[in-house]
Symmetry: D2
Subunit: 338 residues, 4 copies
């Protein structure tokens, strides 16, 4: 009954099969291998557009590198105050942007609202040299409260950002989980809605350690800078085929969507069960995370029964499901509360 | 006939077996897993001392993180002018040390000599605020010319550095290759000879992507800072068990030494063959790299026959062997020159 | 009628006299001059303690250098959300701390309250490597709303910070203005109340360009690092005597307090006049700044009459007085509203 | 007999007169004052071209800010191994460029030669992501050995740099001293010879503390970034009129050239006297610095007589003259050796 995090899950067997299959003979190093080339090509197909992509092994690296080519050292990134890039990456965005600032917005269910973004954008005065101007808007799919922006929200927020002269970034560490609850395509949810650079996560969704940084449209021109920063950050692995092979496995036959769909279904079952047991959900469940208000007795009973989950700063309990969450574990957890 | 680099080699089957075996059930993330703990314990045994260790997936990350806890932003690292940290890491040491300088020393066969180090150390004047004082000495095993320091050289250089108030770092990306040609133990070659922090490489020697940063003696106190920087650099992978499992596989039954011994033997055979064919060796062969002066006809003939190798800036040709280099390939290459 | 800023004021004649007097013959450069030594000694007397001090020519430099020796690149500084270091220094603290974060607290009249600081300190978990821990508390005298902390407030906040393992910094760009309204001594308001490092401003109060960074108590040990960073930041002027001479002039015969007393008196008169005219004061007037809610007619009339002042983001109008503000100007401004 | 450094000299009386004259009434702060505007305009005339300029108070700040807009964090600056930016600025270029590297060239009399620059430029391979590519060539007038590049040398070196895709910077801390020994105009020696960005020094030549960073041609577009970095570095003084007024005083009636001519004449007299006394000059004297090989007896005799000068790392003794060097002091020094 491990609901601590989807990062605790193992890798999907097909990912490991692909890694094994890639382990044949010599291959050009540092990304000049065929797996990397093919993964780029598959991603072009998936996103229905030309794009530039590079691969790294952690989400923090993906986000920080992405932001480093969008935000100057003298600029700022707008994000939600609870965004992963602000709360859980130990200053990686500040490190990779060389001292760029994060401008924090509040917002219900850890989502940035149009209403809070607009006034912040209005106050940007690039001629006022004393204040750090926003240069990027970063949105998280899923957000830290497990909620998702729908396509129209992404589109509205990106429009506002672009109008104000900002670039846009999506931290898509759980993009798959955000997508499977919608009918939107990957393209709809990202560049068609105005996203310039995407951190596309596979690790939480079933890879061993594989994330893509994808540059759309004009941003493709910044690929050389991205690669320089990737090398400089120590994120250009000598044997890169082993990362690219994971991505290929995840994308084959829509495995990534199937795994996310399973995780989401498990979260949904869990949430329904919690509700039936009379426990209040703290946030809408729109992916593979459930935040629920348990009383102490309930929490203790669950832990005694072997359930792992986190107490969240807002007072709720966080349960994360994964591609590997067993239905039996969900049922066992709910049985404790029944 | 791929002699381009040991980074082009696949991973050893036992490494992948270990990764597969680690892919069972859930495990605590970000390094709190059992594989990481066990790998640390095995390294303590191997180095016959208490130590602190963390794992990353590239040598550049290992070196840059190691240097970041030894060199302040206002300080400098002494290294050979051809050191990997100076020539091949795109400024990663400067990035992770936040602007620390590299002070470059010349030296035959890409080794720092006592004779060139002494005068540099003598000129350090920490009270002269205008000049950046050296704070670290970094030695490479193997160096970029494929040569190795022996234990007495490491010991003398570290003594001088310590006397001058510096800390010491070893870039051991090919430490295994340096060790198997000696009777020295890992402890003899590192902390007993005065090394404070070691980048211990496994990737070039047979792993998929696994490097250890090891803190000896007093440096253990800096482990928390190292971990903060590792997180901040994006090098704390969610599913770290897959890196630690590689290290465990490499260390089991001395696999790492056996693989390096094979690579070295192949280099030795290649070097002997080159010499017999009348080609001059540019540097002593003390590991798995051979630098040889070929005439254009020889180089062309080898490439026509399918051999891959690099033209080196010094005019020689670089051949790198690996754990996976086939004797037949070596013989085929030599046959071309015969 | 220039109420735009005290930075618009000229320098006091005695400051220029001192600069002229210092312009005799050769003097050791980069701070080895006698004026620098004497200014340090006078500051020891003024603060009734041993201390280490260095001089720079802008408040932004003073703050950023001070924070750079208190906050590691992986750490954070707690400050008010409207603090000068957050809003008006273009990311200088992030630059000099090499990517440290600012953790922002709200608070009435731009002051940090015990009530808002306590919960933030409680959540610091130094063992949680993912989150950036606070390492410094920075208080501003005056704050951006022109208000001052009294000694007991500084003392309580510093106690809390120290208990939580933080260091403390005071941005004293207008420390003089905060002091003259109290009976507290400079020592009472700073190190005796728990301040570790002080940015002590003279520029706004009558100097041409002179600020001191003062290290108290244990922080004295960090003086060499401060000097290295000062040099590296380009803030170690070759002819430093001209800065130190300004400081000496300001400190002689309590000129600094007399100038601040005048500026405060002018602000007080202005504030009283505004109140009499029925205009609401936005914040208590505790120094040389008045924030007043004017209707459009009033603001227009004042500007038509030649008054310079700023519209503040909170909707009020900011009037700043200085050592050079003429009583006649204050009366002229008030006459407009009468 | 102070020949320690031109930074030990006082400011010229006309500079202080100008500062006093500027101290009238209120003035817009942070560079919006009339003195700053006028100084920009006078510099346009002097350099016979449109340009953008900003002012700071130290040469280290001028150089580091200039380089920060020319060199990316992933790039490198080519300079002489003894350049001030490498040896005497405590890593300021690395700090302001956020980790850019300095690529060092040897060269007689501390000048970069075409012969050593060409091979370095030839090896730049921007497609090789592992190595840091040179992005800037920085030349010093005077160099650290007191020598000057003539216009044709500057022109040849800049041509080569531009052809290789680099930008060019001149550290003109002693540009005046380099110019007065030639018939070249300021324009000839800088932008007409291919310099993109100039650090133009006044402090060593008679100001209290005033340096200009001048952007020529296309570089003018980077002015906003320069200003952002200047603010962020703490180098945008609130009362900037006092810096601009110094620059205006120095430029009026060619005072800057007259002062440099005097300093150079004193150096020349000193050098001739040393030669007559049989002491060998270490470098050609092309400005206000004399490097001479003294035996211990001579050095002791001079010091006993009260002469101040530095022992240089190359074994020679450095004598620096200034606008304020008295002929009597030069004669007294020479009398000791006679």
């Amino acid at each position: 009954m491990n609901f601590a995090s989807d990062t605790s899950a193992p890798a999907h067997p097909k990912v490991l099969e692909a890694v094994l299959a890639a382990n044949e003979g010599s291959a050009a190093s540092y990304g000049a291998d065929l797996w990397t080339t093919k993964a780029g090509s598959v991603l072009c197909d998936l996103f229905e557009t030309d794009l530039a992509v590079t691969f790294v092994s952690s989400g923090t690296a993906a986000n920080a590198l992405a932001l480093s080519i969008l935000c100057s050292p003298d600029g700022a990134v707008i994000c939600h105050e609870n965004a992963h890039i602000n709360r859980d990456e130990r200053g990686a965005p500040e490190f990779y942007t060389q001292g760029g600032k994060l401008l924090l917005l509040p917002g219900a269910h850890d989502k940035i609202s149009i209403k809070s973004l607009q006034p912040l954008l209005t106050t940007i005065d690039r001629s006022f040299v004393h204040e750090t101007p926003a240069e990027v808007l970063s949105l998280s799919q899923l957000g830290e409260a497990g909620t998702a922006y729908d396509v129209s929200e992404v589109s509205s927020l990106c429009d506002m950002a672009h109008t104000a002269g900002l670039h846009t970034h999506m931290d898509g560490a759980r993009l798959a989980n955000a997508l499977v609850n919608t009918t939107a395509s990957p393209a709809d949810m990202t560049w068609r809605a105005g996203i310039d650079v995407l951190s596309f996560g596979f690790t939480k969704n079933g890879a061993m350690g594989a994330e893509a940084v994808i540059l759309f449209g004009d941003m493709v021109k910044r690929f050389d800078t991205l690669e320089a920063r990737r090398k400089r950050g120590g994120h250009m692995p000598p044997k890169q085929r082993f990362i690219a092979a994971q991505v290929l496995a995840m994308l084959e036959d829509e495995l990534w969507l199937k795994l996310a769909a399973h995780a989401n279904a498990m979260a949904s079952t869990l949430a329904d069960g919690f509700s039936h047991a009379g426990a209040k959900l703290q946030h809408p469940v729109q992916g593979n995370e459930v935040f629920v208000c348990l009383d102490d007795g309930q929490a203790d009973a669950l832990r005694t029964a072997g359930a792992q989950f986190y107490d969240w700063p807002d007072g709720s309990a966080r349960f994360v499901t994964s591609w590997d969450t067993k239905k039996a574990d969900v049922q066992a957890a709910l049985a404790v509360l029944a």
